[in-house]
Amino acid sequence: MANKIFIVEDDLPTVELLKFALQSEGFDVAVVHDGITALRSVEKEKPDLILLDVMIPGVDGFEVCQLLKHNIKFMKIPIIMVTAKVRKEDRMLGFEKGADDYISKPFDPIELVSRVKKLLSEKDLKGDSEPK
C-alpha cells in the first residue's frame, strides 16, 4: 500500500505543487488548509507523514506539531515543517516542538520528496525494531 502524506497548507498553488510532486512519486495525498481541521482529521486520515506549514489559519503549525507530538496516538508520525520563516530561531523552535525535519520556502520539490522518503524509511526501520 502506498504511503499516505498529509499536507497542511493554506496556499493553494503550493498545495498543487506538493500534490503533484508527491503523487508523481506514487504517494497518496490528503490535504487540509488550516490547523483545526488538521487536528480533527488526522485520526481519520491515519497519515504516514505530515507536511506542516507554520503560518496557517487557526492554530499555527508550531502548535499543531506540539499537540500531535504530545498525543500518544500520533507521536510516531514524522512531521516536516514547511515554512517561509527562514530565521534560525524559528528553525530551532520547530525542532523544540518536536518536528522531525524542517524545510524552508521556496523549496526544491525534488529535494522535498527525497527528504520525505528518507524520513519514511527511518520510520520503517524504527517500527521494525520495536517489540510488538
Binding site: F20, M55, A84, K105, P106
Partner: protein, 540 residues
C-alpha cells in the same frame, strides 16, 4: 529690614552656650569683686545687677519662641539685638563703668552675632548703637547723673575715660568690618552653593531619563520625576525601600541584582534591558554607575524604551509577514518549473528547457533579493547578530564561487582563484560571510562584460586574511569610491537599468565585514579600468 536667615539662626541656637558663658563670667567677676573689695553686699545694687544678668542670659529664650510666630523676623532680631546692647550696657554700669572697660568685649560679641544672623549692615548698626550706649553710660557716670561703682576703689580721670571710650568705639567698628566682611563672603558662597545645588536639582528633575541613587545594599536614596512617571509611584512611597522588588518585574530582578553587584566591583554597567513593575509594561534600558565620591552609592539611569521596543516588534512582524507573503508564491513558481525541467510533467523541448531555466534562475534571484531585504532590516534595527565559529575562509569563498557558476557561465566569465596554502582559521559567521562575499562577487559579475575575467585571491598578511576580487568591469571614478558602499547607491543609474539591482548588496557586505572587525574598500584606476574590492578579516 534686612533679610533674616533662619538656617543660620538655627545654627546659632546650637551656640547658645555663648550667652550662658557670658553670664557665668559676669557672675564670676561679681564674686571676685565681692571678695576683693569686701563691700557691703547691701551697698551694691545687687538686685538690678542680678536681674540684668538673668535677662541677658535668657533674652534669647523669648526670642526663640517668637521667631516661630512672628513674621517680621528682621525687625524682631534688631529688637533683640538692641535689648542685648542695653542689658550689656547696664551690666557694665553696675560692675564699675569705665573702669570695667574689659567687659566692653561683650559688645563685639553682639556685633558678631548680628553678622551671623543678619548682614553686614546689621554689624555696623550694632556697632553704632553699642558706641552710643557705651559712651552714654560713661557720660552719665562722668557727670554724676547716675551713681558710679568704682572698681577696686579707683577712678580714672576724664582724659583716660575719653581715651578708653574712643579706643573701644574704634574696636567696635573694626569688629563690625571684619564680621560684616566675612558675613558677605559666607553669604556669597552659600548663595552660590545653593544656586548650584538648585541648578543640578533642576537638571535632574527635568531629565527625561529616570535617575535613582542607591546605597550599597540597594536601597533607594533618591529618585527624580521621570522615575515617578515611569513607575507611577511617588518619591515618598519608595524612598528607603529596596529597589529590586519595588521597581522591577519578577523576570528582571535577578538580572538587575547581578548587574548591581557587578557595577559595585567594575564601576559601570551599561545597556541593561529590564522590565518595570507598572500598570502598563514598561521596558527600560538601564546603566549603573558607582559614584566616585559618595562611598559606595550607585546611580541607576533608566531610559524608557517601551516605544522603541513596540516599534521594533512591529517592524520585525511586518518584515516577517512580507517575507512570508513574497516567498510563498515563489515556492510554487520555482517548484513547478523544477518539476517541468526534470521532465515530471512530460517531455520538454530544448528551447522550453532554456526558457524554464531562465525562469528558475530569476526566481532564485528574487529569493536572494528578499533575503537581502531581510538582512537589511536587521542591520537597520541593529539586530544583525553573528554566530561566529572557527572556519577556513577559503572554504566559504570556494563554496560561494561554486554556487555562482551558472551566472559565471551565462556571461562566459573566466574566473581565476588563487588561494594561498596553509591559511589560518578565522572566527566567522559562515552564513553571513558567504552572503557578504556573494554580494561582492555578484557585483563583480554584474559589472563585468561578457567573456572577460574576474580574479580572486585569498592571502594572509600580518594577522589578517585578505580577500581580493578584481574585475575587468567598468571601474569606478575616484569620487565614487566611497559611495559604492552607501545604501541604495548606484554609481551610474543609466548603467544600472542595464544590469539591475537595488543597491543593497555592497552596503550589506560592508556591514557584515565590519561586524567581523574587518575592513572593506575598493580600488579603481577610474572609469574603464576595472575595480578591485578588497576586504580583510582579523585572525583571532
Amino acid at each position: 529690614m534686612e533679610g533674616f536667615n533662619t538656617q543660620r539662626y538655627q545654627m546659632l541656637e546650637r551656640f547658645r552656650w555663648m550667652f550662658r558663658v557670658r553670664m557665668l563670667a559676669a557672675g564670676f567677676v561679681f564674686i571676685v569683686y565681692f571678695f576683693v573689695r569686701k563691700i557691703n553686699i547691701f551697698g551694691f545694687p545687687f538686685i538690678p545687677f542680678a536681674s540684668c544678668c538673668f535677662l541677658e542670659a535668657f533674652v534669647n529664650q523669648p526670642y526663640a519662641f517668637l521667631t516661630k510666630r512672628v513674621k517680621a523676623l528682621g525687625a524682631l532680631t534688631y529688637t533683640h539685638l538692641i535689648i542685648d546692647i542695653v542689658l550689656i550696657s547696664l551690666i557694665i554700669h553696675y560692675l564699675g563703668g569705665i573702669e570695667f572697660a574689659f567687659f566692653s568685649v561683650a559688645y563685639p560679641l553682639i556685633i558678631i552675632i548680628a553678622g551671623i544672623m543678619l548682614s553686614r549692615k546689621a554689624c555696623y548698626f550694632v556697632a553704632f548703637v553699642s558706641s552710643i550706649a557705651y559712651s552714654a553710660i560713661v557720660a552719665l557716670e562722668f557727670y554724676n547723673l547716675i551713681p558710679h561703682n568704682p572698681l577696686f576703689g579707683f577712678r580714672l580721670d576724664g582724659l583716660h575715660q575719653f581715651g578708653i571710650v574712643a579706643a573701644n568705639i574704634l574696636f567696635f567698628y573694626f569688629v563690625a568690618f571684619i564680621s560684616g566682611y566675612s558675613t558677605d563672603l559666607i553669604q556669597e558662597r552659600t548663595r552660590k552653593f545653593e544656586r548650584e545645588k538648585k541648578f543640578s536639582e533642576n537638571v535632574i528633575a527635568t531629565l527625561l531619563d529616570g535617575l535613582v541613587i542607591l546605597d550599597v545594599s540597594g536601597r533607594i536614596k533618591e529618585i527624580n520625576k521621570a522615575v515617578e512617571r515611569m513607575t507611577g509611584l511617588t518619591r515618598e512611597e519608595i524612598i528607603g525601600l529596596d529597589i529590586t522588588p519595588v521597581l522591577f518585574a519578577s523576570a528582571s530582578r535577578e538580572a538587575f541584582l547581578r548587574a548591581f553587584d557587578e557595577a559595585k566591583t567594575k564601576g559601570e554597567i551599561k545597556g541593561l534591558e529590564l522590565e518595570l513593575v507598572s500598570g502598563i509594561p514598561v521596558s527600560i534600558n538601564a546603566s549603573l554607575l558607582k559614584m566616585q565620591e559618595e562611598g559606595e552609592n550607585v546611580v541607576a539611569i533608566m531610559r524608557d524604551i517601551s516605544k522603541e521596543k513596540a516599534i521594533d516588534k512591529l517592524k520585525t512582524e511586518f518584515i516577517s509577514t512580507v517575507t512570508h507573503e513574497l516567498l510563498t508564491p515563489l515556492t510554487s513558481i520555482s517548484g513547478f518549473v523544477t518539476m517541468m525541467l526534470n521532465g515530471k510533467a512530460g517531455a520538454v523541448t530544448e528551447e522550453q528547457k532554456n526558457f524554464l531555466g531562465i525562469v528558475k534562475r530569476q526566481a532564485a534571484h528574487l529569493k536572494g533579493l528578499i533575503q537581502s531585504m531581510l538582512d537589511f532590516s536587521r542591520i537597520e534595527t541593529g539586530r544583525l547578530e553573528l554566530h561566529p565559529e572557527p572556519a577556513q575562509v577559503e572554504d566559504v569563498i570556494s563554496e560561494v564561487i561554486n554556487d555562482m557558476q551558472p551566472q559565471l557561465q551565462e556571461k562566459h566569465i573566466n574566473i581565476q582563484v588563487g588561494i594561498k596554502d596553509g591559511l589560518p582559521q578565522v572566527l566567522v559567521d559562515k552564513a553571513r560571510l558567504s552572503r557578504a562575499f556573494s554580494n561582492i562577487l555578484g557585483n563583480a559579475i554584474k559589472f563585468t562584460p561578457r567573456g572577460r575575467a574576474i580574479n580572486i585571491s585569498v592571502e594572509d598578511e600580518r594577522g589578517y586574511i585578505r580577500i581580493k576580487v578584481m574585475d575587468e568591469g567598468i571601474g569606478i571614478s575616484k569620487e565614487n569610491l566611497e559611495k559604492v558602499f552607501e545604501k541604495f547607491y548606484q554609481v551610474d543609474s543609466a548603467l544600472t537599468r542595464v544590469v539591475g539591482g537595488a543597491g543593497m548588496g555592497l552596503s550589506i557586505a560592508r556591514e557584515i565585514i565590519e561586524k567581523h572587525n574587518g575592513q572593506i574598500w575598493v580600488e579603481s584606476p577610474g572609469i574603464g579600468g576595472g575595480s578591485t574590492f578588497i576586504f580583510t578579516l582579523p585572525v583571532s
